[in-house]
């Protein structure tokens, strides 16, 4: 038998080429005759562009093409974003673009474009933006969609009337950037009316449709290729970048590359949405929960992007993490004249969980309960929520349900709670809040996590036998740096019964692959895993069928072993896969499968519990993470090393969100003040704490090889675990992120002056 590789820490499939510098990212590519583009950006948070004078730029030697709102095609990049608009909506919004011989000339040309702006009133605060008198960022008002999102199970009025006590508080989280190390880049090249684009992309098929639609092209005339990507975090794209490159390339008649600078990437990329969440919870004196009501105002900045999805996801914790018959979520997505927010790892879930889990912790303490016991008593169990199923019996259950009456396919939340608590020493080491004394105080805090488990939309994949007797997996997804290619190769190897080393991955090229979901929403392991598994199983059947004729044996008597098809009853009779590939007479042995991932019977969700130990310096306000334990139920772990890396990375990344990171936009000028790594302070090696990762012993009955989603859940529980630990250490209630030293010191001062 060929050794099974699912569940083993085989090396990351593309790491060798990344380690030698051979891996090519978009910015590393160079086409013959390629020009370089630069973008002119708005210095105003809101303005109408009255006129643009480009003559000076056009006269500059080495300038080959320009595009402005007055000569750009009519199309739309998104429903609320034209290719270029004559109204700019944030400082950094795209005004015009230039292509020139090199970046220096392009930059100089940008400086020679004269723009006459008519500045308009602007608004940078979402609550102000909701007032009737506020300047309209877009026609039709600042509330996206014109009305709030409202979701309810049961009746919160009934729930609150049953409560002995009602708790309420308001929490805020800032905009921050994923800040992927690779700034967005795109190269566009035209050949006889056909457009090829290489770009940083979370989904080449989605980008192809976006580009074709914006440029008014037939979809099959556009090819999008995703080279290696310097991290995605679900971000990349939702911007105009590739469209501008395509228009410039068309006008210049030569390929054009645009690479964003670091500052552009941070400001004009897409940030996480800032939120303000008020949460209200009714409880019985004995600690059961009677009602939960969360209301979130979310700042989407200048454009909607994926905001509606982000808004929805911010509510899922309140709706589903605790067993409760009466819950409600109200969300408002609001335009402001700030940099546009978009998709970033776990969308709104970290913001929603922050408010929910911080308040639940304080409720437990006010009730005199240990926060762990409160959660063990109230967390949603394998049976799901009380109530009636509303989804018709033959329809797939949404992974973000509101309805009750539907069980989970698997739910390892309790195991995460108990094993995580044991690892951090919760029972032995946690003292009541505020009891720690000294200039440096310590405390423990925790949080729970619920998140979509991985089913996306319909997903296809192909598998074929290569001339060397290996398996080539062909999938439309892209590995954004998280390890999808490795995990899918492992699944293909085991399903086919071939060695991991013999699997080759062909991904992220719309000309070579079938449509697939985007690499976001933690969908890839589950959804593309199912598609690759199904395609591999079918290829195996095709291979055995072909071998059956050659070996003159029934298919039932054949097995795939170490690169050969072997006759079970007479193992001397065998044919290697390489021989089989050659004997097919020029015909490639291949198979494809299309799957609709999901379940009609159960909710597929991932779970987790996070535990933080912090030390707070009461003199300086510095918070140090002493230890962090992240316990996750992501079903069966396909590659423990990669999964551990993913969880550690997600936790550390969100310690930045919790303690230091914020995109600061000045309310008076609309300027974003900290478009650099030095000032948008993400974690460095010096900040990385001791992180212990635990995986619950769960095999999901629906997931491919028992797997569920992993990519985003680690980022969901970090902030509340830390804020709760800070409360435990200091007794301070801090409701606003990031928890900077001055916020701690202010809170100390407030508590002293009472």
């Amino acid at each position: 038998m060929t050794d099974q590789v699912v569940g083993r820490s085989v090396p990351r499939i593309d790491l060798p080429e990344k380690l030698t510098g051979e891996a090519r990212y978009t910015s590393d590519l160079k086409l013959p005759g390629m020009l370089h583009g630069k973008v002119l950006r708005s210095p105003y948070p809101h303005a109408r562009i009255v006129a643009i004078e480009t003559a000076g730029a056009e006269r500059l030697a080495g300038v080959h093409a320009l595009v402005t709102p007055f000569d750009a095609p009519e199309g739309k990049v998104a429903p609320d974003m034209g290719i270029l608009n004559d109204e700019v909506r944030f400082v950094g919004d795209e005004v015009a673009a230039v292509a020139a011989d090199d970046e220096d000339v392009a930059q100089e040309a940008i400086g020679l474009i004269e723009v006459r702006y008519d500045p308009l009133p602007f608004v940078t605060d979402p609550e102000e933006a909701l007032r009737p008198t506020a300047p309209a960022v877009h026609p039709g008002g600042n509330l996206v969609g014109g009305r709030p999102l409202s979701l309810e199970r049961g009746s919160i009025d009934e729930g609150f009337s049953e409560a002995d006590r009602i708790f309420e508080d308001t929490f805020t989280t800032p905009a921050h950037s994923g800040g992927a190390l690779e700034p967005r880049a795109a190269i566009a090249s035209w050949d006889a009316g056909r457009l090829t684009v290489w770009k940083s992309s979370r989904g080449v098929h989605q980008d192809k449709h976006m580009m074709a639609s914006a440029l008014g092209l037939e979809s099959d005339t556009v090819r999008v290729i995703g080279p290696h990507m310097g991290a995605g975090f679900g971000n990349k794209d939702e911007t105009r970048l590739a469209i501008l490159a395509a228009i410039l390339a068309q006008r210049a008649g030569r390929p054009v590359k645009i690479e964003l600078t670091r500052e552009e990437e941070l400001i004009a990329g897409r940030t996480r949405h800032a939120t303000r969440t008020t949460i209200r919870v009714g409880v019985k004196d004995e600690g059961s929960i009677t009602a939960i009501h969360a209301s979130t105002i979310m700042d989407t900045g200048a454009y909607m992007s994926s905001g509606p999805g982000v808004l929805r996801r911010a509510g899922q914790g309140a709706l589903y993490l605790y067993r409760c018959p009466h819950v409600r979520y109200d969300g408002q997505l609001v335009y402001t004249n700030r940099p546009s927010a978009g998709s970033y790892r776990a969308l709104g879930a970290p913001q929603g969980h922050f408010a929910l889990e911080a308040l639940m912790d304080r409720i437990a303490q006010d009730l005199g309960m240990d926060p762990l016991d409160f959660r063990l008593k109230n967390h949603v169990g394998p049976e799901g929520q009380p109530g009636q199923r509303t989804t018709p019996p033959d329809e797939i259950i949404d992974t973000q349900p509101v309805e009750g009456g539907v069980p989970f396919s698997s739910n390892g939340l309790r195991e995460c709670l108990t094993r995580g608590a044991e690892a951090i020493g919760w029972r032995e080491r946690r003292r009541p809040s505020g009891e720690s004394k000294g200039p440096k105080v310590t405390g423990l805090g925790m949080s729970m996590i619920i998140y979509r488990g991985g089913p996306g939309g319909r997903t296809a994949a192909k598998a074929r036998l290569t001339a060397e007797g290996g398996v080539e997996v062909v999938s439309g997804i892209i590995d954004v740096g998280e390890g999808a290619a490795t995990v899918l190769a492992q699944m293909a190897a085991d399903e086919m019964g071939v060695s991991y080393d013999s699997v080759k991955m062909t991904l992220a090229d719309t000309a070579l692959t079938l449509p697939a979901h985007i690499t976001a929403g933690s969908m890839t392991t589950f959804s593309s895993g199912m598609a690759v598994k199904a395609a591999s199983a079918q290829l195996k059947a095709v291979v055995l069928d072909a071998a059956s004729g050659i070996l003159d044996a029934g298919v039932d008597d054949l097995a795939l072993q170490e690169g050969s098809v072997v006759v079970g009853s007479d193992p001397q009779r065998r044919i290697t896969l390489a021989e089989l590939a050659r004997s097919a007479g020029g015909k490639t042995l291949e198979a494809e499968a299309s799957v609709l991932p999901g379940s009609t019977k159960s909710i597929i969700n991932s779970f987790g519990a996070h535990f933080a130990e912090v030390e707070v310096d009461l003199g300086t306000g510095q918070v140090r993470i002493v230890r962090f334990v992240a316990a996750h139920d992501s079903g069966r772990i396909i590659n423990p090393a990669l999964a551990t890396n993913q969880v550690e990375g997600g936790v550390s990344q969100m310690l930045g969100f919790t303690l230091t990171e914020e995109m600061i936009t000045d309310g008076r000028s609309g300027f974003t003040l900290n478009g650099s790594y030095l000032e948008h302070k993400g974690p460095t090696f010096m900040d990385y704490p001791d992180i212990q990762v635990i995986f619950a012993d769960v095999v999901d009955p629906e997931g491919p090889f028992g797997a569920k989603a992993l990519g985003e859940p680690p980022s969901v529980g970090v902030a509340p675990a830390v804020i709760n630990a800070i409360h435990n250490a200091t007794g301070l209630r801090i409701n606003d992120l990031p928890v900077t030293p001055d916020r701690i010191l202010n809170a100390i001062q407030m508590s002293e002056t009472g």
């Binding site: 790491l15 380690l19 030698t20 690779e182 997600g650 790594y677």
Partner: protein, 163 residues
């Protein structure tokens, strides 16, 4: 008006001498990437903040975006391409492969070069020394935990091989 000035220089990269004509404004990073096609050093910020462009100059790690090509002079440049190739990885690269010391890979060449420089001068570093030596390299995937294990493994391997 564009103010540019070109000068002929000789640049020694990965043991090979290159006669080049460079614009006086070009950084070493731009020269490596655009003129020599050595794209392993990445442009993550172009302003000395992220370390993705780290190369060694006479064995000392530097940000290639913070030095002009004209400033290099006779000093020897080592880039990731000069370390090892896929068929024969350098022990530091092998340790990063064995311990999954990277995710998206954009920071990886920089981390590998900083690690090589560290181990060349401090063969048996403790954790704090490793952190400090690599604190000028940012990994936004935050794979620091696995990078730490990779560096420690590289140091152990070196001690065992007596190199």
């Amino acid at each position: 008006m564009s103010v540019s000035h070109a000068e002929k220089i000789s640049l020694t990269v990965n043991g090979q001498e290159h006669a080049l004509e460079v614009d006086h404004r070009w950084t070493l990073l731009r020269t490596l990437r655009d003129e020599l096609g050595l794209t392993g050093a990445k442009r993550g910020c172009d302003r000395g903040e992220c370390g993705a462009c780290t190369v060694l100059l006479d064995g000392v790690p530097i940000y290639a975006c913070q030095m002009l090509a004209l400033q290099v002079g006779s000093r020897k440049v080592l880039t990731i391409e000069g370390l090892g190739d896929a068929s024969k990885l350098h022990p530091v690269q092998q340790a990063f492969l064995d311990y999954d010391g990277g995710q998206c890979g954009y920071c990886t060449p920089g981390f590998v070069m900083s690690t090589k420089a560290l181990l060349d001068r401090t063969p048996d570093p403790d954790e704090d020394t490793i952190r400090r030596a690599l604190s000028g390299n940012i990994c936004r995937c935050n794979a620091y935990g696995r990078i730490m294990e990779s560096v420690k493994a590289a140091a152990r391997g070196r001690a065992k091989d007596g190199r």
